[in-house]
């Protein structure tokens, strides 16, 4: 074995050892700060997340509608027709979220 080969083997062994220690690190920390079980969502959590998404989507759509109306892309008539249902959608999502919070 040449000195180059010996150096390569030593370096490879060091690389492997460092990697193994790094991979094992989560098991070397006691106690593990975050607990060992992954978070999972209950059906109620999923529904709340869906409502929050719906609320944010409706609010963003309202903002966009306002801007499109201001730039002339949406006519007054179209604006009047669309703004009501969007406001209602946002309000319903907020109400459902609030109801969930108070009953949760």
């Amino acid at each position: 074995m040449s000195s180059g080969e010996i150096a390569a083997v030593v370096l490879a062994a060091v690389l492997a050892a460092v990697c193994v220690v790094f991979v094992a690190r989560p098991f070397l920390r006691e106690p593990f700060p975050a607990g060992d079980s992954l978070d999972d969502l209950s059906p109620a959590d999923r529904e709340r997340l869906r409502l929050a998404e719906e609320r944010d989507r409706a609010l963003a759509a309202l903002k966009e509608l306002e801007f499109d109306h201001r730039t002339g892309k949406v006519s007054d008539a179209d604006y009047r027709e669309q703004v009501g249902p969007l406001r209602q959608q946002a309000a319903e999502a907020i109400r459902a979220l609030d109801a969930g919070m108070s009953h949760g």
Partner: protein, 664 residues
Amino acid sequence: MPELGRAALVVALGLIAYSALAGAYAAVRGRRRLLDSARNALFAAFAATTAASVVLLVALGTRDFSFVTVAKSTSRELPIGYALSAFWATQEGSLLLWLLVLTAMATAALALNRRLTSDVLPWTVPILAGVEAFFAIVLVFVSSPFATQPPPADGLGLNPSLQNPYMVAHPPFLYLGFVGLTVPFAFAMAALASRRTDERWIVATRKWTLGAWAFLGFAILLGAKWAYEEVGWGGWYAWDPVENAALMPWLVGTAYLHSVMVQEKKDMLRLWNVVLITLTFSLTLFGTFLTRSGILNSIHSFTQSSIGAWFLGFIAVVAAASATLILVRLPLLRARTKLESLVSREAAFLYNNLFLVALALTVLWGVLYPILSEAVRGVASTVGPPWFDFFAVVFGLPIVLLMGLGPLVAWRKASLRSLGRSVAWPFVAALATGAALLAAGAGSSPAGLVGYSFAAFVAAVIVLEFARGTRARHGLGDGGWISSFAGLVGRNRRRYGGYVIHAAVVLLLVGAVGVGGFSTTREAKLGPGDSVQVGDYTMRLLGSTQERGANASEIRAQLAVSRGGDDLGTIAAGKNRYFAEQQTSNEVGIRTDWLRAEDLFVIADQFNPDGSVFVKAIVNPLVNLIWLAGLIFVVGSLVAMWPDAREQRRLERRFAEQKAFARA
């Protein structure tokens, strides 16, 4: 030190295999420590792959010909820049580059989305590891860059066509694009596997997708610039299978980038988006298969090899696994809202999606046709550029028109009257452009005429969108005009960055139509002192010169160029004869007129003993708009990708709300 390279790759494979298995077990059982350990293994795999890459780079830099890869792709006289670029010129090196980029991107994606990938999408880790495992297995068992041999006195050198600065840059950008698209694919599959199909995976991967798509688009243009200069037929895109290999995922990725906005805004197209990102990722693998397998004849014949079966197998596994997962999770992918009107932004996105995917599948059919015809009839028939050009026009023109119409249509529903009002000025611009071109005698190419009219339509829409938006913000009291403009772009970077990208596409279209429809070619055998006229240029052969370059003998025809009596200097075109490679390359002469954006493109062939030279000269009008489009494309992509702190805060608030509630 080939042993170190080999060992580093074995370590990387071990880490990746552990990550895939331990990560999958942790995701199924909900074990946080094991998942963290699996994620650390992917980080460590990046370190090990980097070590292997450094070994190969050092071997290339020092021309260690005991490495088979180094001996077959470099020589002692090869300039150092090209010697290092041989990393991705060989099959083994390019696979190593793929693994290096993939492990780097996986590390970055997991580190930047640490909370998301451990709590919400734990399957991201094993899925990324699964993709990495394929490349690591091929590198360790099939195509190692660290194979050794008794060192020869000199190497075989690098294929001359690869000795070009654009080809030095093209593959790394291409891989950043191809490999970057693994991240949204992995997150999408993880979202399905983890039953978390809410908006988070899309938000987390938005910039990754856009970045990878931008890299891919930029790489395609770098490749086109290389083909223009190095392949030397005067064009920039030849519908070559390997060129198409990069174009297909870019087209489907473009469709995905648009349709994912519909999911964000309207909670529609969930299934379509997952299918699109899967198709995009599969096409990146298929593209690599095409490039590396040598299954098709291509101008990129330097890439032929024998790992095609491995890639086909992996593509089949990816397609089968993704399709199964999508089918199993179909109930989670049902849309909650419906299309309200056929005249709406989301409908426009849907139409653009259909045309983009149709174009991509048509290109795919054209690429596969020789293979299928050989399998069925025993004779390999090919479809040529006219076939591709036809479909590029059929599907491309509606896409350009929709690029203009889409931004003018409101979300949800637009009345035809308000759409008509918005379209009026762009329509006038399109008509005026068409009429002006007809009057100027440019009606010889009807598709070109329509293309230019549509380009004018889109350009007018972009200008109007910026102008109306700035005026609206100014009306809201957003300071002066400049701060109103900055506020407009800053508050909706994706939209206005997207418009800049649309402007780049318009420029590209104008340039492409200019070259394709209005170029002038002239061929002549010139003796010393003879002249030839091409377009409004006159070229006179002054004589020929021969010099010794770093690693080649360079023969050039020197031609004096003039236009309308004005002396425009000389242009040199000829050939290089490479010593180590024992190959000859065409070295074209190009004179660029930046004001007209046109090139005088000269190919010199047949240097005869009597001093005469056969010359082919082409005037390519507007060709430089194609390269300018590349730069504008990069600027638009950067604007669109720039982090938006307000949006980040909004999302964090939503999920903090959720967490706080879950704890309460």
